[in-house]
């Protein structure tokens, strides 16, 4: 069987190609625009050059042509907004639907979350399988291949979208997906300046700073990209320290695969104390500085 990998970032391409290798004999990576193709990850690399003023999404027709030519049995997709459009159009063309945000595979049965983690849904594709797969799922797999590169001929969409401008989003620097240690701040932080205490703890433990939803939505104290939980980051670090986070399921699904989970909250009845390895009952305002002092 042949596998297609649709990715926008090099590290995702690397991991998905490694995963594809566990599922298929032949791995074909589709690289759109100027993605840096990782070395030796796929048997074939199909490159799509974007014409001036085109959006990544409009590469879909080109990818559909390649899909028809190559006829893969499985398609692995990096779950970014661009890739969701490209892959979604390919899936529609194939009469398929994507199984999104898969967190675990068992043969051809893929597990993803239902109602943000209330349930775990195990699903199977009846035709060509399309899987959206986030970081970490194939962390153990190894990629290989000669990367024989082919340039695809641009197939123009019937109604093109015009790119007016593209402005890079300022990044916080740390990629929490790769961090071994994550400190996450929640509603227990009453003021933006209190976040410094969480940053101090990050410095001590060499961790990245994440947060629960209330700190990115509405107050904008932290960028959306560091939000952990449903529709945000799904992490599996070695150490996760949740500070001032009550432990609502919408957040916990993003961190409950951590090896060791620490929680600090002033409410001893907070649900997080039923889901952590070590819990400390106390106000973050006094506890965090004390903790930083002894670490």
């Amino acid at each position: 069987m042949k596998a297609f990998v649709l990715a926008e970032h090099s590290d995702a391409a690397q991991e998905l190609c490694a995963g594809a290798r566990t599922m298929a004999d032949e791995v074909v990576l589709v690289a759109i625009a100027d993605m840096e193709v990782p070395a030796a990850v796929a048997d074939k690399v199909l490159h799509v050059a974007l014409p001036e003023g085109a959006v990544v999404d409009d590469a879909a027709d080109t990818v559909i042509a390649a899909f028809d030519a190559e006829q893969p049995g499985v398609v692995l997709v990096e779950p970014t907004r661009h890739m969701k459009v490209v892959a979604g159009k390919v899936a529609a063309h194939a009469g398929a639907s994507i199984i999104p945000d898969v967190i675990e595979f068992d043969g051809d049965v893929a597990t993803d979350m239902y109602f943000g983690g209330v349930g775990m849904k195990k699903q199977k594709a009846t035709g060509v399988a399309f899987y959206g797969v986030g970081a970490g799922v194939f962390a153990e797999a190894a990629a290989s291949g000669a990367n024989a590169t082919e340039e695809l001929a641009w197939v123009a969409p019937a109604k093109a979208i015009k790119l007016v401008s593209s402005v890079p989003v300022e990044k916080s620097g740390v990629d929490l997906n790769k961090a071994d240690v994550v400190v996450a701040a929640g509603r227990g932080f009453g003021a933006e300046e209190d976040l410094q205490m969480a940053r101090d703890l990050c410095d001590k433990v060499g961790g990245g700073l994440g947060c629960s939803r209330p700190l990115t939505e509405g107050v904008n104290w932290l960028p959306t990209e560091v939000y952990v939980g449903v529709s945000g980051l799904m992490l599996s670090p070695k150490v996760y320290i949740a500070a001032g986070i009550s432990g609502q399921m919408q957040h916990m699904v993003g961190c409950n695969r951590a090896t060791t989970l620490f929680a600090i909250n002033k409410d001893k009845n907070a649900p997080i104390f039923k889901q952590c390895d070590y819990g400390l009952v106390g106000d973050i305002k006094t506890v965090l500085p004390a903790l930083v002092a002894v670490l």
Binding site: F115, I161, V169
Partner: protein, 252 residues
């Protein structure tokens, strides 16, 4: 302009019970509009308000029980002018592709339109795919992640907040645009809106076609809790901070 906004009716996840065997029980869950679809409705209503003479049509497909008077009034109290609904058990539990096919059948009944707005993702599957699949079925251009929509001459200018970049794009109409939750804060319907809702057109249909899923659900159960040590200490106790710090150091 005529704006169609698509939404999904789902059980309220707050009321979903987990049975002894881990299966999910929806018996006590009342049905609500999927949370992020409220933001889509608000975006549609605001876009209509910004363009005089606009109309907003709400569309949804689902099982027979979504044809519920309170659900319909709830939608129509949120700046939506009329409702088109396919309420048929043939439309229950569809995957993205099948949902899009059912929506496409319904959209044909709405007639001419300029723009279809979708929410960020549904509360249940959160596949973020119905927008793309619907656009593919209707042969329309599509963009997602919209945090701002402005109408122009035969186009909409959309600001998309993506993972690495903020893109501004011009999309020729008719088109499908799905919005990020940040696009608009849903209104709180007042009694005036609620009373007016009951008088707005509600067009309810049975399904004409059949809609086959391409994804088979093998199993759906509540997740098992990971085994955690559950060592909880009070910060006020002697040596509590030191103990906690030692545990962190050991785990690093």
């Amino acid at each position: 302009m005529k704006i169609v906004v698509s939404f999904k009716v789902v059980p309220d996840d707050q009321d979903i019970q987990v049975s002894g065997d881990g299966s999910l029980d929806y018996a006590k869950a009342h049905q609500i509009v999927s949370t992020y679809d409220l933001n889509a409705m608000e975006a549609a209503a605001q876009l209509a308000a910004a363009n005089e003479g606009s109309e907003v049509v709400g569309i949804t497909v689902g099982g027979k029980k979504i044809d519920d008077s309170k659900t319909k009034k709830n939608v129509l109290a949120r700046g939506i002018d009329q409702l088109y609904m396919t309420a048929d058990d043939a439309c229950a539990d569809l995957d993205a592709g099948a949902t899009a096919a059912a929506l496409a059948e319904l959209v044909a009944k709405v007639g001419e339109y300029d723009l279809i707005i979708c929410g960020d993702g549904s509360a249940d599957n959160y596949a973020q795919q119905v927008d793309v699949q619907l656009a593919a079925k209707l042969g329309l251009p599509v963009v997602n992640g919209a945090t701002k929509i402005e109408a122009g001459d035969g186009v909409v200018t959309v600001v998309r907040t993506l993972e690495d970049v903020v893109e501004t794009v011009e999309v020729p109409l008719p088109a499908v645009v799905s919005v990020a939750p940040d696009v608009a804060l849903p209104r709180i319907p007042g009694m005036k809106d609620i009373l007016a809702a009951g008088k707005k057109p509600m067009n309810v249909f049975a399904a004409e076609g059949t809609f086959a899923n391409s994804i088979e659900v093998v199993d759906c159960k509540a997740p098992k809790q990971a085994d955690r040590k559950l060592e909880i200490i009070d910060a006020a106790d002697d040596g509590a901070i030191e103990k906690f710090a030692a545990a962190i150091k050991a785990a690093l």
